[in-house]
Symmetry: C3
Subunit: 209 residues, 3 copies
Amino acid sequence: MGLREVLIPQDRVFFDLFEELANIVVEAADLLVRFTGAGLNPVACCPQMKDLEHAGDLVTHRIYHHLNRTFITPLEPEEISRLASVLDDVLDCVEGSVQKMRVYGVEESDDVMRQLAKLIQLSTVELQGAIQGLRELKDAGSVSARVIEINRLENLADDVLGHAFMDLFKTNDPIRILKYKDIYEELERATDRCETVANMISDIVIRHT
Amino acid sequence: MGLREVLIPQDRVFFDLFEELANIVVEAADLLVRFTGAGLNPVACCPQMKDLEHAGDLVTHRIYHHLNRTFITPLEPEEISRLASVLDDVLDCVEGSVQKMRVYGVEESDDVMRQLAKLIQLSTVELQGAIQGLRELKDAGSVSARVIEINRLENLADDVLGHAFMDLFKTNDPIRILKYKDIYEELERATDRCETVANMISDIVIRHT
Amino acid sequence: MGLREVLIPQDRVFFDLFEELANIVVEAADLLVRFTGAGLNPVACCPQMKDLEHAGDLVTHRIYHHLNRTFITPLEPEEISRLASVLDDVLDCVEGSVQKMRVYGVEESDDVMRQLAKLIQLSTVELQGAIQGLRELKDAGSVSARVIEINRLENLADDVLGHAFMDLFKTNDPIRILKYKDIYEELERATDRCETVANMISDIVIRHT
């Protein structure tokens, strides 16, 4: 990496852009946690969430655009484009979950939403750290620890979802079940996508060390 | 590309096969638009749709088979096999949506189906153009414009789906909601898959220019 | 491969690990068939299924770990990590389906579950064979025959699902539909994932022969 860094420092811009995208993902998760917290209407964050999703799309497009104009990249071009795409997927799930609340007219969060939002937030912070770790590809150990933690959080989210379904079906209200099941699943999917990103970062570190 | 074209013109067959597959995808979307149009039973197109899906599978297998016997390919072997697979996914979603109508006994299309069918059709025509653009890998600009348009159409489909869900839940009829939600989502998924193909073509163009 | 085998026989460990993982997947499918068989409560196999899923995760992590420490691998590093990941997905779907039965309080299997379990079992045995075939990358014909068979089984599972949905909606019981639809779809997804693995093995064989 030494020679490459000296010759083409401008390629470091990819890491800047990934960190920028990760920051937006964390910001969206923070927003979700704040608005699913007691007392707020989660749907009220829709406009801000839409802005974050749009900001994420712009960064993703800048990554593609820069890739288009750069001959020597610090990672494989395909790694860069796929990583941008899956990071963007996390953002889409977070945004998608509040959109579903809006569409279904759910104006109050419940404990399940709060718990899942918290797990998403913790996962995105780990992702942010793992992405910062990409810049120095030597630190495989720290990235690996974060990947394991994200796996653990995803398993927790899975458990939360299982218990939530049990409670939900006890209501015996099919319309309510249809709505909440969809929202819970979208929230849980966000933790799945975090795991996908984590595994991809792990693969990248493996290939480059 | 010049030398390669002279030496191994037979490899152009991959582009012929991709165009053939894209034509089938467009044909399936046209069929969907025609049969979700006013007055026709959409389920009546199932046999023709099944034939198109089968024709698509055959082309996909010919792509794999040809890949198996060709040493020098115009794109990476993995790019070729993945592109064939995701293009086939679009066809599966289109066919899947009329299969769902059949299974659920939905014999009349509604406005949502018509709107989504139209968006699918527009997306597949853009895809067809992007695939023709693969042959001449220099024209990244035109491919990029099509990718942006497909993104726009996918966002529109997303909006249609949101409004459709709001209306659907107003019926308060859980069985109806279960059926139509499933069909609408499968239709919207077709536009998602078009976006996946578009992004993959965009990646290929980036890597080869 | 000859020279490589002499120089780095320790790399054969990847094939050992893949076979170990495939054996666990087959074991999970066998367990599913046994417990969806007449007279047993399928939920009763949850603890054993969880153990198998955990065993699968450990093998997957050993594959990643070994990849991390090996400079010359018999397949591309990315092929190895992705194959491990999709094989693990099959296991997750099988485990997920009995978890869903548990969550939904479904303590008796029906014919649909039995039929899908059988199709999953047949698919995993084909997968096991295809993975054994990876060791000798020359035998593309035999792998290809297994891929075609797995495709056929997946189509059968699709038909079973279609008929199951028709019967299920006849009950007109939305809660029951919600539960069983989810379980059936998870079972069918296991055959989809088998197809994904099969296609990936097929791609690997194409690239290495």
